[in-house]
Amino acid sequence: MEEFSINTKNQENIEILYLNGFLDAHTSVELENCLEKLISEGKYRIIVNFEKLSYISSAGLGVFMAFIETARDNAGDIKLCGMSDKIYNIFDMLGFPILFEIYKEENSAIGKFS
């Protein structure tokens, strides 16, 4: 089975999630649990780094939709960065850049929080 994992770190009071592998209807539960935990702990400043993500389906996209409103209502955000062209094309095709800030570099996303 293709793997999915999440590594996290805190930098400048921002939670940064590093996604690895394949994000689909099976593995998206792990991301949902991770974001739910952060939000429940009052951590609303979140960056998701896609550099090591190989695949995303709509189940993965839905997880970000489920939490962005709460993050923004609490003066935070979920900013996305490091997408390969193939991942970005899926977000772009559905219009996600209308709602989400998407950056090439993680540092650019960090800078937007300060």
């Binding site: 089975m1 293709e2 394949f22 689909d24 209807a25 099976h26 695949y55 389906s57 709509s58 189940a59 996209l61 839905g62 939709m65 489920a66 962005i68 409103e69 193939k86 094309n89 899926i90 095709m93 559905l94 219009g95 996600f96 209308i98 709602l99």
Partner: protein, 138 residues
């Protein structure tokens, strides 16, 4: 490389990775470029996820038969399954501006399929036979 054009999967999201590898192998054989292969894999993943979720309600005792067929210009993926049927052609794609303004969740599988595949055919004979065919033209 899998030489067979048909696989039978237990209806579980655990098997989506097996499904994607099967479709990737067949789409490569057919001669699609990398970006088209991703579109096909994603569309079939979305179709099977909908079957697992809505037709089979995550019952892993149910099965999905996945078959690929190819002629000179058309690549077809045929999904056969039992249970409640659903024709993706009956669903209108959402207005994405409204979708984002209302922070909606879900319902993007069918729009992805419609966007990336050239044609979707659905046949429902009875609760024991549904057939969903996704077609991509070379």
């Amino acid at each position: 490389m899998d030489s067979s054009n048909k696989i039978l999967l237990a209806s579980s999201t655990k098997n989506l990775s097996v499904l994607r590898k099967f479709i990737e192998s067949k789409a490569i054989d057919f001669g699609f470029d990398e970006s088209t292969i991703i579109q096909i894999i994603l569309s079939v993943d979305e179709a099977c996820t909908n079957i697992i979720k809505h037709a089979h309600k995550y019952d892993e005792n149910e099965q999905i038969e996945v078959e690929t067929k190819a002629d000179k210009t058309e690549f077809k993926i045929i999904l056969k399954y039992k249970g409640r049927g659903f024709d993706p052609n009956d669903l209108h794609s959402p207005d994405m501006k409204e979708y984002f303004s209302k922070y909606k969740v879900g319902g993007l599988g069918v729009p992805i399929m419609k966007k990336f595949m050239n044609k979707i055919e659905y046949v429902h004979k009875n609760s024991d036979y549904n057939s969903l065919t996704l077609i991509k033209v070379l």
